[in-house]
């Protein structure tokens, strides 16, 4: 599909979306060409950072209007061949699209490639974006408001009238505040669509494979469009279609899932949920230390769409050249993961042609260069509050400390590490079991200021071997002081 913006009066064509002709001021018309053929091709043998795998081919396409566009492909074409994209054949197909300036057209075109969209105008729809923390749109922790706007527009054009947008922010963050800063609340208001905080929903219980899930009732009663941001995740590896659905269950269930083992329970949750379609937001995407503000924007400019969240996450992981997360392997239910990937039905852009080197997250890194994490699949409340604490301490000099979290800690993980702080009841208990005495034990319900004062005192003093009663008193007082100040 080749799109041009045409001013008929002046006979000019733009490859960029402009609203009015710069010369005559008249509105421009969109010209979309769909019958493309190959008029030129070249085989490229030199790699570059964005295109590391060679040789690859570039075909020059021309459509029925004489408009042209280059396309990267691993297949061999001849000049004169017709270029067409086949529709998906199965429900597990993943549609990968490189967005070309017009997000609305790319979205429409990609959804048309699904074997069936399964949403009709009389349906009640829930759009489930990723709203995890208050961040600006350019920081990409949350779903792009532009993409959300286009999805709502597309649904309304179809005639769908009952649409809501709903999500639950990460434990400790307020959903509405996060939606406001990220621009999502404005999009909802503009389209007259309610924003629902799933934290305040009613929950319906469902059991799957021996595990009880309390799922927000909107998920069970409506057709769901999952719109995650495609990111790396320093705990789990990838945050995509599956990880985004973690926040449709209530916080108790989330904690329980981590307590059992998130890599085994997340696939079970996906099985328990009714079928949904995922439009993966890689318009920017995030890599390095995702999935929160510590990550970097990846500028991928792609969409990943599928009715099968496991296939989608696998495809994303492959495109990003990331090591495959365990929970995705578990979710495929197949022993031979490589065979699974080979059999993935990829529609639209080819997987090989879409490869884009993403930075792999460092599992031990936090916001502060001297605070290292030893994370054993700790639950979100523990993990993200530890990250938040580390970012509050940025700028302070100090000596290395290791924060151990999670109940799956092993001797191997803490072996040789000095100045360990056990954070969270799970870690405190596990280290006791392993007969390892940490420098300090910090339960997750300790107040923020008290926690920070304690961490700061250990960070700054290289000789500290343990926390004294005096230290504990000091931090308690600091915490109380903050509470009193806040009260006034």
């Amino acid at each position: 599909m080749i799109v041009r913006w045409v001013c008929e009066k002046d006979n000019r064509k733009w490859i960029y979306p402009i609203k009015k002709c710069l010369y005559c001021g008249e509105p421009v018309k969109k010209q979309v060409g769909r019958k493309t053929k190959v008029i030129g091709l070249t085989k490229v043998n030199i790699p570059s950072p964005l295109h590391p795998i060679t040789p690859y081919n570039i075909i020059l396409l021309e459509d029925e209007f004489g408009n042209r566009m280059p396309k990267k492909t691993m297949k061999d074409y001849k000049i004169g061949d017709v270029y067409s994209i086949e529709k998906a054949k199965t429900d597990s197909a993943v549609i990968i699209t490189k967005i070309k300036y017009d997000l609305g057209e790319s979205l429409k075109e990609s959804l048309n490639l699904l074997n069936s969209f399964d949403i009709e105008k009389q349906d009640k729809v829930l759009i489930k974006p990723c709203i995890i923390e208050p961040a600006y749109p350019y920081q990409t922790s949350n779903t792009s408001p532009k993409l959300l706007d286009e999805i709502i527009k597309m649904l309304k054009d179809m005639g769908v009238s009952d649409i809501i947008v709903g999500d639950q922010a990460m434990p400790g963050n307020d959903t509405t505040a996060s939606a406001k800063k990220s621009g999502i609340l404005d999009v909802c208001k503009k389209n007259d669509i309610p924003l629902v905080d799933l934290r305040k929903s009613q929950y319906i219980e469902k059991t799957e494979d021996g595990m009880k899930f309390s799922i927000a009732k909107e998920i069970m009663e409506r057709k769901v469009i999952n719109v995650p941001v495609m990111k790396t995740n320093s705990q789990l590896g990838v945050s995509g279609a599956m990880e985004n659905m973690l926040r449709v269950v209530d916080e108790n269930t989330q904690m329980e899932m981590f307590a059992v083992d998130i890599e085994k329970t997340l696939p079970k949750l996906i099985k328990a949920l009714p079928k949904f379609v995922t439009i993966g937001d890689a318009t920017i995407g995030m890599h390095a230390q995702g999935p929160t503000l510590l990550g970097e924007p990846a500028f991928m400019n792609m969409l990943f769409i599928s009715k099968d969240p496991v296939a989608l996450d696998s495809a994303f992981s492959e495109v990003g050249m990331l090591p495959t997360p365990e929970y995705i392997k578990e979710a495929t239910g197949i022993n031979e993961y490589d065979a699974y990937v080979k059999k993935l039905e990829i529609v639209g852009d080819e997987l090989e042609a879409a490869r884009y080197h993403l930075k792999v997250p460092d599992k031990t890194a936090s916001a502060h260069p001297r605070i290292k994490l030893i994370d054993a699949k700790s639950n979100p409340l523990v993990f993200y509050t530890a990250l938040k604490a580390s970012s509050k301490l940025v700028g302070l000099p100090g000596h290395e400390i290791n924060i151990a979290m999670g109940k799956f800690l092993t001797e191997e993980m803490v072996n040789g590490k000095k100045r360990i702080i056990a954070y969270g009841t799970d870690a405190i208990n596990k280290l006791k079991e392993l007969n390892i005495t940490p420098i300090a034990e910090v339960p997750e319900d300790m107040g923020d200021i008290e926690k920070l004062t304690l961490l700061k005192s250990i960070l700054e003093n290289p000789d500290k071997k343990s926390v004294s009663v005096k230290d504990k008193m000091k931090s308690k007082l600091a915490g109380l002081g903050a509470k009193i100040k806040g009260a006034f």
């Binding site: 070249t42 030199i46 690859y56 280059p70």
Partner: protein
């Protein structure tokens, strides 16, 4: 009206010198050639790309230049236009209104790994349509070459002849990368394919180098008769005819008009052969051959050094080397040296009117300069 006083240039190649040292060398040679002092200069225009990976990580190069040359009183500024930086700086200097202007182009590419260099050049392509589809610089020119070959029946052999001609010329150019390095037609035709149908020897080589020129309102023996710059489309696939670079046609027309000459009056040319097909296209776009007749000029030897219209006696970008921003100014260097009879083995007999053609990207920014030899 501007005249060229002096020119200077470092040898193009892989240097261990820093850009500061390269600049210094080129400027000193130019000042000596012009018989001037640095205090006579009223303005300096420099062209230099700034790369993240060249080890120098220096953005405000103007300030560095001010240090090296010890000038604290005059305006020094930078222009960038990818590979046409040198020509663009020259064009801007000719329209600056100041009495004595120093134009400088410098680039340091050898410290960059090839993959980063490829990436740098790719950033001169359109982001969404070209960079995401792997259309790096050789690939862009490959598609253009292919369209030309389909339309007019030129072959890879024609491209190889162009490369051979330029290498033969560079053999005798002490400032060229391939000075005294013999390259045979066999080597060219058997070199590995970079982006089909272009082979390694169809692509110019990225090297380090600096070139400087001093122009002045004072009369000298070389007049800058025509100077034009046009920015054309960024992506090659946009224009209805991919085998014509509209910007070159427009820039050449303006320059010919200003100089009061036609293509028949031009005695020798420095053409921007970043890739051999570009030289072929430029024969036609600059008016030396009708559309589709370009290959004839190379096949019958017209553009060889002993032909009636010698092209790239310096070796061109192909065999002299292509330090992106310095190239445009090095073309002026060659033309001036030819006109002053200082080219030894490569010396031409007829050097009354010369043309320098500098291109950025794939026909995206084009500058054309016409110089007249008043020395007789």
């Amino acid at each position: 009206m501007y005249y060229v006083k002096g020119v200077g240039m470092t040898k193009f190649g892989v240097h261990s010198k820093t850009s500061q040292e390269l600049c210094y060398e080129a400027v000193m040679e130019a000042l000596e050639d012009a018989n001037m002092q640095l205090s006579d200069i009223d303005q300096i225009i420099i062209s230099k790309g700034d790369s993240l990976h060249d080890g120098e990580r220096q953005r405000l190069f103007q300030g560095v230049l001010s240090n090296i040359l010890g000038c604290e009183d005059i305006p020094i500024f930078r222009v960038t236009a990818a590979c046409s930086g040198g020509g663009s700086a020259f064009w801007d200097a000719v329209h600056s209104g100041k009495k004595n202007v120093l134009v400088l182009g410098v680039e340091k590419l050898s410290p960059c790994l090839t993959k980063y260099l490829t990436d740098e050049f790719m950033m001169a392509a359109e982001r969404i349509y070209e960079q995401t589809e792997g259309l790096n610089f050789p690939a862009q020119n490959a598609l253009v070459a292919q369209q030309y070959m389909i339309k007019y029946g030129a072959t890879s052999d024609d491209l190889a002849l162009i490369a051979l001609k330029n290498h033969e010329n560079a053999f005798d150019n002490p400032k060229a990368k391939f000075y005294k390095k013999k390259v045979t037609l066999d080597m060219i035709k058997k070199s590995p394919v970079v982006a089909s149908p272009l082979r390694l020897f169809d692509c110019s080589i990225s090297v380090d180098g600096a070139a400087a020129a001093i122009i002045s309102k004072d009369k000298t023996d070389i007049k800058i008769a025509g100077s034009s710059l046009y920015a054309g489309r960024l992506s090659t696939f946009e224009s209805p005819d991919m085998s014509t670079w509209e910007a070159t046609v427009l820039a050449a027309k303006d320059a010919y008009n200003e100089a009061g000459v036609t293509h028949e009056d031009i005695d020798f040319v420095e053409v921007h052969d970043a890739f051999t097909p570009v030289e072929l296209l430029s024969y036609e776009d600059l008016g030396f051959a009708k559309k589709g007749q370009g290959p004839k000029l190379i096949r019958d030897g017209t553009t060889k050094i002993n032909g009636s219209l010698p092209v790239n006696t310096s070796g061109g970008l192909k065999a002299k080397g292509h330090p992106v921003s310095a190239t445009g100014v090095s073309q002026i260097y060659e033309i001036v040296r030819q006109m002053r009879g200082r080219c030894d083995k490569r010396q031409l007999d007829r050097t009354r009117t010369g043309l320098a053609h500098n291109v950025g990207g794939a026909g995206s920014t084009v500058t054309v300069h016409i110089l007249k030899n008043l020395g007789g």
